[in-house]
């Protein structure tokens, strides 16, 4: 919680008054995006080496 009243408030988002925490969150956003990219690469590697068609997901 970054504000105690809406009176005169500007930035109202979570941790708006704690830039260090926002930087950590930003770092995690970048890290998760990178993880998704790596996960895509791993998925490709397994897919290309597997002679069976990919199983349907229900």
């Amino acid at each position: 919680m970054s504000i105690s009243t809406f009176e005169g408030a500007g930035a109202v988002f979570t941790f708006a008054d704690k830039p260090a925490i926002l930087m950590v969150i930003t770092f995690f956003v970048a890290a998760v995006s990178l993880f998704a990219l790596v996960a895509t690469m791993i998925h490709e590697k397994h897919s290309y080496s597997d002679p069976q068609p990919k199983k349907l997901k229900h």
């Binding site: 500007g10 956003v29 998704a36 895509t40 490709e44 349907l56």
Partner: protein, 455 residues
Amino acid sequence: MEEQTTLTLEQLHTMIEMTNTLNMEIFYWWCTALMILIHAGFLSYEIGASRLKNALAAGVKNILAFGFVVPSVFLCGWAIYNAFPDGLVPRMDALMAAMPWSESMGPNLKDNATGIFWGAFALFAATTGSILSGAIIERARMSAFIILTIALGGVLWLLAASWGWHPEGWLTVQFGYHDVGAAGVVHQVAGFFALAVVINLGARIGRFNPDGSANQIVGHSMPMSVVGLMLIIVGFFGFLGGCIIYNSGAQWINIYGQPTNLSAFAFNTLMGFAGGLIGAYLTTREPFWMMSGGLVGIISVAPGLDLYHPGLAYLIGMGVAAAAPLVNNLLLKFRLDDAVGAFAVHGFGGFAGLLISGVFLSGYPNVNGMAEISFTGQLIGALVMGALGFIPGYAISYALKKIGMLRVPAHAEERGLDLTEVPAQAYPEWAAMYGHASTVNGTEVTTLVVETKPA
């Protein structure tokens, strides 16, 4: 009886200001919503343009582009746009003010503009990713596409916008570069980037014969592609609406500060679109290129949407769209397999549009002491945009190629990417329909064995 209160002049003024601000927000909100239709259109267009065996993989690629590009613009793209109008040296105060931990980059009751503009720019970025994805369907690795689209949508388009689509961008200030509808900064950059990737990626298996002649590779659903293209056109009205600055209580202006209005955009968008349809019809007679021609028509008049006479916009759209399929044929002569004609539509359309605008808009004044519009300025802008797309696109795709990360293995390409990497099936009844011999007049004409996915 109710007591009537009389508002003071100051209260009335505050009320009008707030109404104007809310109207501005609402305007860009719906522009952004409409722009999502561009992405929906590209999704449909590229799935339709893919063969059945690659239909879903094309869709996954397109959806993923959105998922990666939007956070990229949040993490660094918006800061790039704000910090680099002078070239390659950033304005540090602007850079820091647009970083994800700054007060403006989130819900802020005193800032009704940043989020809404950021949203529009993120959707422009997604458009660049979609332009690239069409060119490389059916053989590019998903991971390579993600890396390329982050570079294009999260960095390069925003650098282009900072240089040529910013009130203080060096191309505008020094050369009077005029590109109100983003023909250069979005379409040309993305089109040239796509061309560079196509060069390194190579053609789909079977696209060319040893003697250099090309074989047709037909997508599995042209109706789906054509509907997708029409959705893109609808989305363009959001895109182009987002190219105008809602000036509360005053004349609306374009991105460079010159006065304009939505009427101007309506005239020239529709006339360019219509001209493009006819131009491509005259040279191809087929619906895929007609609809692509409509896109070319809009892109080719986009630099001067605020200034062209609608008749001239019609003629420009027609001429450039008539030439676009020929440009795509020229690429085929060089064995370049741009699967949906992305370069011809976006790269060539944007480039030609900028040069033509240099001819017809030369001498128009600018504001705030910036150079007037000139052919030289438009030519320089077009060359910069082409280089900004092509050089990084070539370098990154070349590096990916060298480490074996650009293209799927041949066996996966031949089998189809859906069976290989997508745990879903586009048309489950398809095998039941065509997995046996069919006959015409008692004669067996085809036997198509369809591989199905295990449940």
